[in-house]
Subunit: 457 residues, 2 copies
C-alpha cells in the first residue's frame, strides 16, 4: 500500500495536462511580449528579508514565508530572550531570508542592483511563482505564478498605448473577448481636489475601488465613515452614478476638473492614449472607467484593468504607471508602467469556455504499436524520420497486449496510431489508424509523411 503523501496546503502539483494548458497561455503571452521587444529576466526565489519587509504593509509582512537560517540558527539569541513574548525579535534573529511575495519589489531591487548593465528604457517581462502565507481558499493559492511586463525609464504615453496593443493581441490569440478599462490616478486626485478633500485621496480611491463590488450606497457610507463632508460626497455622486461612454466621460471631466491642474494633466494623458487608439483600433473594447481606482498606492498615472466579456471572474489583467518604484531602494525619478496577467484566472476562463485548443491535450502526433523486436526496429527507423520532419512520436517501449497499447495512445490523446506487424514488415507497409474517426488504411512506408501532411496534423 502506498503511504498517504501530500503537499503543503495552498500549493499544487501541475499534471501533464494542466502544464500543457498553462504553457499554452504562457507561450502565447511570451510570444507577444517578444514581438514588442520585451525580454525575460528572472530573480531568485529567496530575497533578503531587508529587501521584502516594509514594502507590503503590516499584513503583507506577516504573509511573507520566512526561511530558517542554516546551521545553529539559535546562536544569536540570548537564552533569556528565548521567550514566546519576544517572537518578533526572535524571528529577526533566526531568519534572514524570505520567499518573494510578488515580482514588483524584486524587479525594483533588480534594477537598482544591475543598473550599470541595463539599457533604459528597460523593457522586461518576468514569469515566476510567488508565495504568500494567505489562508488558502478556492482560487487563492500559497504558491502562484505572476506574469509581469513593464517598461521603466520612459514617461512617454506611447508605452501605455503599446501595453494596450499587447493586451489586445494576447487576448485575440487566446480567443477571448475582453474589455480594457482605463483610468488615471491624476484624474482621481483631481476629483478629490475638486470636491475639496485632497487630503482624503487614499480613502477616496479605496472606496471607489470597491464601487463595482459593493455598490454606491456602501461606498458613500464608507466615505462618510472616513470623514468626507456631505457636500463632498454629494459632489462625488455624478462621477460614480452616471453611465457614460468614453467621450461623455472626457466631456464631463473637462468641466468638472477645470480648476484642478493635476486633474487636467490626467485628462490630457487619457486623451493622448485614446488618440492613439483612434488611429490603431484594437479588437477589444477599451473604455475610460471613472470607478476604476486600483488599490495599490504606488500607481501615479494611467491605470488599467482587463475583464472577460464572456465570464464574470473579476480582473484577468491589470496594472498602471508608477513614478517612483525604485525609490524604495534609493534610486529616484525613474518612471515606469507595467501590467500583470493573471494566469490562474485566464486558465479558469479558458477552461469554462472550453477554449483550450485540442492540441494542448495531445502528448504526441503519432504512436507506434510494439509487436516485438524486429517490428520495433522498423518503428524506430520510421519514427526517427518523422521526428526529422517535425512530428513527435512515441513507440510503446515493449511488446504488450495490443488493447493495452491502444489504451495508452487513447489516454494520451495521440491522434494517429501506426501498426507494423509481421506482414507489414515484410511488405514495407504500415497501417495507420485515425483515432478520432476510427478509420484506418494501409499505405507504403514511403507514403507516410505525405499522408500526415494531407490530414494536416
Amino acid at each position: 500500500m502506498a503511504v498517504q503523501v501530500s503537499i503543503p496546503k495552498g500549493t499544487r502539483d501541475f499534471t501533464t495536462s494542466e502544464m500543457s494548458k498553462r504553457n499554452y497561455i504562457f507561450d502565447n503571452i511570451k510570444t507577444v511580449f517578444k514581438k514588442y521587444g520585451y525580454q525575460a529576466i528572472e530573480t531568485p526565489a529567496m530575497e533578503n528579508l531587508s529587501t521584502l519587509l516594509g514594502k507590503y504593509g503590516d499584513e503583507g509582512d506577516r504573509l511573507i514565508f520566512k526561511i530558517l537560517n542554516s546551521g545553529n540558527y539559535l546562536n544569536k539569541i540570548d537564552e533569556d530572550n528565548l521567550n514566546p513574548e519576544h517572537i518578533a525579535e526572535i524571528t529577526n534573529l533566526i531568519s534572514e531570508k524570505g520567499l518573494r511575495y510578488d515580482l514588483t519589489v524584486p524587479f525594483a531591487r533588480f534594477i537598482v542592483q544591475n543598473r550599470s548593465e541595463i539599457t533604459f528604457p528597460f523593457k522586461r517581462y518576468q514569469i515566476q511563482p510567488v508565495w504568500r502565507a494567505d489562508k488558502p481558499q478556492k482560487g487563492r493559492y500559497r504558491e502562484f505564478f505572476q506574469c509581469d511586463v513593464d517598461v521603466i525609464g520612459s514617461n512617454s504615453l506611447f508605452n501605455e498605448f503599446e501595453l494596450i496593443q499587447i493586451i489586445d493581441e494576447i487576448f485575440e490569440i487566446l480567443n477571448l473577448k475582453v474589455t480594457v478599462k482605463i483610468n488615471n490616478r491624476k484624474i482621481l486626485a483631481g476629483i478629490a481636489e475638486t470636491i475639496g478633500e485632497s487630503d482624503k485621496f487614499i480613502p477616496i480611491t479605496v472606496a471607489i475601488d470597491k464601487f463595482e463590488k459593493i455598490g454606491l450606497k456602501k461606498v458613500n457610507e464608507e466615505l462618510q465613515k472616513n470623514g468626507l463632508s456631505q457636500d463632498a460626497i454629494n459632489k462625488l455622486q455624478p462621477v460614480l452614478n452616471v453611465k457614460r461612454n468614453t467621450t461623455e466621460s472626457i466631456e464631463f471631466l473637462s468641466e468638472m476638473l477645470k480648476t484642478s491642474e493635476t486633474g487636467l494633466a490626467g485628462l490630457e494623458e487619457i486623451k493622448t492614449i485614446f488618440d492613439y487608439l483612434e488611429y490603431f483600433k484594437p479588437k477589444s473594447n477599451v473604455e475610460l472607467d471613472l470607478s476604476l481606482a486600483r488599490g495599490l498606492n504606488y500607481y501615479t498615472g494611467a491605470i488599467f484593468e482587463v475583464i472577460s466579456d464572456e465570464v464574470e471572474l473579476g480582473s484577468i489583467c491589470g496594472g498602471g504607471r508608477y513614478d517612483d518604484l525604485t525609490s524604495i531602494f534609493g534610486m529616484k525619478d525613474i518612471s515606469g508602467v507595467g501590467i500583470s496577467f493573471g494566469a490562474d484566472r485566464i486558465y479558469d476562463v479558458l477552461n469554462q469556455l472550453n477554449k483550450f485548443p485540442n492540441e494542448t491535450e495531445k502528448s504526441s502526433d503519432v504512436f507506434f504499436i510494439n509487436f516485438g523486436k524486429a517490428e520495433e526496429l522498423k518503428c524506430i527507423e520510421i519514427a526517427n524520420e518523422l521526428r526529422k520532419s517535425g512530428y513527435s512520436c512515441e513507440i510503446y517501449p515493449q511488446k504488450a497486449k495490443i488493447d493495452r497499447q491502444f489504451k495508452y495512445a487513447n489516454n494520451k490523446n495521440i491522434p494517429f496510431v501506426i501498426v507494423i506487424g509481421a506482414q507489414e514488415l515484410e511488405n514495407n507497409t504500415l497501417t495507420i489508424k485515425d483515432m478520432s474517426s476510427g478509420d484506418q488504411i494501409s499505405i507504403k512506408n514511403s507514403e507516410l509523411i505525405d499522408y500526415l501532411e494531407k490530414v494536416q496534423l
Copy 2:
C-alpha cells in the same frame, strides 16, 4: 544615491542576456523531449518536511532550507523546552515545510499522489529550480535549475536506448561534441561478487566513482581503508587500470563475470543497448566505461554520464535506472530510468566555446527611430505589419537625440534600424540600416518585408 541592495549569497539574478542564453538551452532540450512524447509536470517549491527528510542522508537533511511556520510559530513549544540544546526538536516544532532539494523525491511523491490519473509508462520531464544550503562557491549555487527526464513503469531497455537518442539529438542541436559513458550497477555488483566482496558493494562503487578524479593509487588506498582484502584489490586492478574499447570491455567482462548471475544480467543489458546503437548509430561517442559508478545508491541497472569532448568540465548530463524509487512512499516495484541535464555546466561549455548563436543576444529584429508624433504613427503602422509577418520590432517610445536612439539599438543588439523622418514620411519611403555592416539603403515602405526576407533575418 541608491541604497546598497543585494541578494542572498549563492543565488543569482538572470539578466536579459543570460535569460535568452538559458532559454536557448532549455527550449532546445524541451523540443527534443516533446518529439519523443515526454510531457512537462511541475511540483511546488515547498514540500512537507516529512516528504523530504531522511531521503538524502544526514548531510542532505541539514542542507534543506526550512520554512518557518506562519503565525505564532512558537506556540507548540513549552517555554522550558525553548533551549538551544533542544535545537533539533525546536526545528521540528517551528518548521513543517522545506524547499525541494532535488526533483527526484518530489517526482516520486508526485507519482504516488497522482497515480490514479497517470498513464504508465509515464514519460515526464521537469525543469525547475532546487535549493540547497550548501556553502556557495564557484559554480555551486544555493538555487539552481535541474532538468530531468524520466520514464517510469517500464523495465524495457528500449527506454535506455531512447534516452541515449535524446542525449545525442540535444547535443547535436546545441552543436556540442560529447561522449556518453555507460555502465551498469549489476556489472559493478557482479565485480564485487567475483572478487569476493559482495557486502562491500557500496564502498567499492564509491571508490570507483572517484577513479577519474583521484587516480588508481588513491582508489586502492580507499578500498583498503574500507576493509577490502589485498586479494580482492588485486583482482579489481584489471577492471580499472586497463584501457579498453567497448568490445574489449564486453569480452573482458564475459570472462570475469562468468560465475556471477547478477553480473551477467548486467552485461546482457549493456549488450542489448549497444545492439540498438549498432542499428541506429548516434553522432556522439557512446562507450562502456567500467570506472563509471555514480554515487547515488538508488540506481540499480544502467547508468549514464555525458562529458564534453571539447572542454574539461566534468559531467554535463547523467542518470540511470532505478527499480524502487517510489517505494520510499510505499509504492513498490515500479522500475524507471531517467537522466538529468546540468544546465549551468552546459551554459558554461557553450560560453567557453562561444557557441551560443548570435540570435540569443538580440532583443528584436527591427528598431524604429522616433522623430516625433507624425513619424511615430507611421512607424507604429509599419511595425504592426512586420509583427504580423512574425518580426519583433521596437519603436523608441519618445522623440530623443538620434545618437541616443542608435545607442539603444546597438546595446540591445538589434540588427536593423529603420529611419523615417519628415522626408521619408512624405515619400512613403524609409531608410534601413544594417547595424553589423553599417550599410544603409532607402526603399519604399511596401518593399520592406521583401528586403527583410532577402537578408534572411
